[in-house]
């Protein structure tokens, strides 16, 4: 069903692990592999560019340059020769998020190889998400957790950076450690959330909810239709007229 090659469509040659196949020019690498006859098990996940299962590297004849892309997001080009890298061994440090500090010591203790970075920028060039990988690694080396978290936010953890790093750093696992440190310790806490949790636990809404649960469908429909709707363009501090059920 996914392979809907238009019969009139132009076919282009691609080389899957060195082997030539002719595939419709409009397909992504992923669909082109299926068109060629592969049933994917490894190297296929969300098919939507977010899970990082289908990291792919390719080259063109006559060019020294190594190109990268997610197979589900990259359209085939004539004469590309490619392979997927569905898995690459990586280091993952075990840590207790409750007991770590948002500081450079945490990063270096868990991933000492962070300091081996050669600043060759190969990681950045290998990122299919156009993330400034070397820059976030540099932020990590400075202990700038905020910058590390922000710069790495779009990472899909496909591992292509790690597969090419001459310093043998596992960038994406350092990145998630950085983001979790940021989310837990650096970003200001949501006070309204903590206070709502306290209210719920004290049972503040218990009676009104139980009442709703026992209400007949007609009454529910009336209550539903009469809800006061927060204006879409209203600001953070809008409050409703009826505060009975707050």
């Amino acid at each position: 069903m996914e392979v809907e090659a238009n019969k009139k469509e132009e076919l282009v040659p691609i080389f899957i692990m060195g082997k030539r196949y002719e595939v419709p020019a409009s397909l992504t690498i992923q669909k082109a592999m299926e068109y060629a006859g592969y049933q994917l098990i490894r190297g296929c996940g969300c098919r939507g560019g977010i899970c990082g299962a289908c990291g792919t590297v390719y080259r063109f004849p006559g060019s020294y340059k190594i190109e990268v892309g997610l197979a589900c997001q990259t359209v085939v080009q004539p004469d590309m020769y490619l392979t997927q890298i569905p898995f690459f061994p990586a280091t993952k440090s075990i840590y207790d998020i409750e007991k770590v500090k948002p500081a450079i010591e945490t990063l270096v203790k868990n991933y000492p190889e962070l300091l081996r970075c050669l600043q060759c920028n190969t990681c950045t060039k290998s990122c299919p998400m156009d993330i400034e990988v070397m820059d976030y690694i540099a932020a990590g080396m400075r202990g700038d957790i905020t910058r590390l978290a922000e710069l790495s936010f779009d990472c899909v953890m496909c591992g292509l950076c790690t597969s090419r790093c001459p310093a043998e750093i596992c960038q994406y696992n350092i990145a998630i450690l950085g983001r979790r440190l940021y989310g837990k310790y650096v970003a200001p806490r949501a006070e309204h959330l903590a206070s709502m949790v306290r209210e719920v636990e004290k049972g503040k809404y218990e009676q009104m909810l139980r009442q709703l649960m026992d209400t007949d469908e007609e009454t529910l429909k009336n209550l539903y239709s009469a809800r006061e709707i927060e204006p879409e363009q209203g600001d953070e501090y809008w409050t409703p007229k009826d505060k009975t059920y707050l």
Binding site: V3, C46, Y182, R189, Y205, R227
Partner: protein, 557 residues
């Protein structure tokens, strides 16, 4: 592929009406919302659920006579992948306290709370840990967290209104009261939820919400939650083991009728093997890859409804499967992006939906089923859809309005994932609108369970998209990430407690599978279909014709 010259011409009509629409938006003027009665009429006339042939009766099992999508019925009226007489249940490959089937949001959340309750968990998952619809959820996670304007009371009303007032009250109650706790849990795990400088969680409207309670992590909320939960599970690797590329194909019961393990399949070495457990949690997710009614889907490659089949054979009832959720805004252009989810958050942030003349025809924040039905009506009956180069119809989603309303750069900042993606295809979504059409998105129903995630089979628990009842007949946006985290956590606790005082050791068997096979035979269903499907078949049928020595069981060689 950038827009064609024909489409660029049509975009001019959108641009012509844009200043007026932006002004109206600023004044707070909106396209009127439909009344409950109007909603009902629109659904009956235009929603795919009501199309002729959209439902067919199940002829076997505990829901005999219940009418649901034929694509699911086909899987229910199929045989097991394994012959119960051939498999040796005495050869146990793994033993664990809790076996969790599925490594998405619900399964991983369950593993974490199970571990906190002092038991060992084994996650068996079809692809990689985290390859799941959770990863793909973009828009956000609901929760009444702002006490000055919202409360679980209003969240509850919204959930029920979205679900046509058919939701199981106890489940909806649990969802809305646990919501703030789950958000606090995620914050505490270091999930990077998008915040204001003082720390308040940013929040937006979703379709069918009366208060802005959709919290998010840019436009990759699900991915942020999934990778955080997965990282945390990996930190607890002593107690949480993960078997990847090992989907379950059958539940195993014991002589007391308790669930006591599962038969797994190694997708790479093609072996079947046995896991024995004191309790099993089903968290296999949804079924978009069944392509119900031929619709494209936003779902993950592995979303083939496996858990429904296994649970049903073991005697657990199905509920709310008679409705299927179509997300109103799946990409229809460019072709490479077809079916891709365009988060509802675009509409929450102010983008209008428009027909070929650049006119509004529905409020952007109707519940998903109503919104989808309205798109289908505009294309099929009114005839004002936009024709794509591949012959599909679409509706404009006017994303550039967001930059005008929220300030230049807002689209790029709030929707980095989609911005980069379309940029690669040569489309700048902060300058040009997107073309969208409803796409198969969510399994509203599933296995029947209660607010402790217990099913009718002792020792067998369910959580997340595989289960049904909490969303009634239609889920609201932002309630699926909430569902997987709330009920995943509960399932982990309930199953742990069960292993400590209720689980009973006993001889393993697959008698329920034998009984089911017999029932199929008695109903006159002679078939070589097998289920669960495990993976969809997208390989080239012409190649298959030439695979003269290949042997397929179902979709898998």
């Amino acid at each position: 592929m950038p827009y064609t010259s024909e489409l660029n011409e049509l975009i001019k009509r959108v641009e012509a009406t844009r200043p007026g629409r932006v002004e109206a938006k600023r004044r707070g003027e909106e396209f009127p919302l439909l009344t409950l009665k109007e909603r009902e009429e629109r659904l009956k006339k235009y929603h795919p659920d009501f199309k002729k042939g959209s439902r067919t009766e199940i002829r076997v099992g505990v829901n005999k006579g219940y009418s649901i999508s034929p694509e699911i019925v086909h899987l229910l009226e199929a045989k097991s992948r394994v012959n119960p007489d051939v498999i040796d249940l005495n050869k146990i490959a793994y033993k664990t306290d809790i076996l969790i089937l599925g490594g998405g949001g619900a399964g991983t959340a369950a593993a974490l709370t199970a571990q906190e309750n002092g038991v060992k968990a084994l996650i068996a998952t079809k692809l990689r840990h985290g390859d799941a619809n959770t990863m793909m959820a973009e828009g956000g996670i609901q929760g009444a967290t702002k006490g000055t304007k919202d409360s679980p009371y209003y969240h509850y009303l919204d959930v029920l209104g979205g679900g046509h007032f058919k939701n199981v009250p106890e489940l909806a109650y649990t969802l809305v009261t646990e919501a703030p706790k789950v958000l606090a849990w995620l914050e505490n795990l270091g999930c990077m939820l998008t915040k204001l400088p003082e720390g308040q969680l940013k929040s937006l409207h979703g379709g069918g919400t009366c208060r802005k309670r959709m919290h998010y992590a840019a436009d990759i909320t699900g991915a942020e939650i999934m990778r955080t939960l997965r990282d945390e599970a990996r930190n607890r690797a002593e107690d949480i083991k993960v078997l990847e590329f090992s989907p379950a194909v059958e539940l195993i019961l014991n002589e007391h009728g308790h669930c006591a393990g599962a038969v797994l399949y190694n997708l790479e070495t093609e072996e079947y093997f046995i896991v024995k457990a004191k309790a099993v949690i089903m968290a296999t997710g949804g079924s978009g890859r069944l392509h119900i009614q031929g619709f494209m889907t936003t779902n993950h490659y592995g979303a083939t409804g496996d858990g429904l089949v296994m649970g049903y054979r073991a005697g657990v009832k199905l509920c709310f499967l008679h409705t299927v959720q179509y997300h109103p805004t799946g990409a229809v252009f460019p072709e490479q992006a077809e079916g891709l989810l365009i988060t509802e958050k675009f509409r929450g942030a102010g983008a209008n939906v428009l027909n070929i003349d650049g006119e509004q025809f529905v409020n952007e924040r109707e519940p998903r089923d109503v919104e989808s039905a309205s798109f289908i009506r505009e294309c099929d009956e009114v005839g004002k859809g936009i024709l794509t180069p591949t012959g599909k119809l679409g509706i404009w989603l006017d994303s550039p309005m967001i930059d005008i309303l929220m300030g230049e750069g807002a689209v790029k900042r709030e929707f980095p994932g989609k911005f980069i993606l379309f940029k690669r295809f040569g489309i700048d979504i902060s300058k040009d609108p997107m073309l969208v059409y409803p796409t198969l998105h969510y399994q509203n129903g599933g296995l029947e369970y209660n607010s402790l995630c217990e099913t009718s089979v002792p020792g067998f628990f369910a959580a997340g998209e595989v289960s049904g009842g909490v969303h009634g007949e239609n889920r609201l946006m932002g309630n699926s990430l909430l569902d997987v985290t709330v009920f995943g956590r509960i399932a982990g606790v309930s199953a742990s407690l069960y292993t400590k005082d209720k689980a009973k050791e006993g001889k393993l068997n697959l008698d329920h599978v034998r009984r089911y096979h017999k029932e199929l035979e008695e109903a006159g269903i002679i078939t070589d279909r097998v289920a669960p499907m495990l993976l969809p078949d997208y390989s080239n049928p012409k190649v298959r014709e030439r695979q003269l020595t290949a042997h397929y069981v179902g979709t898998i060689r």
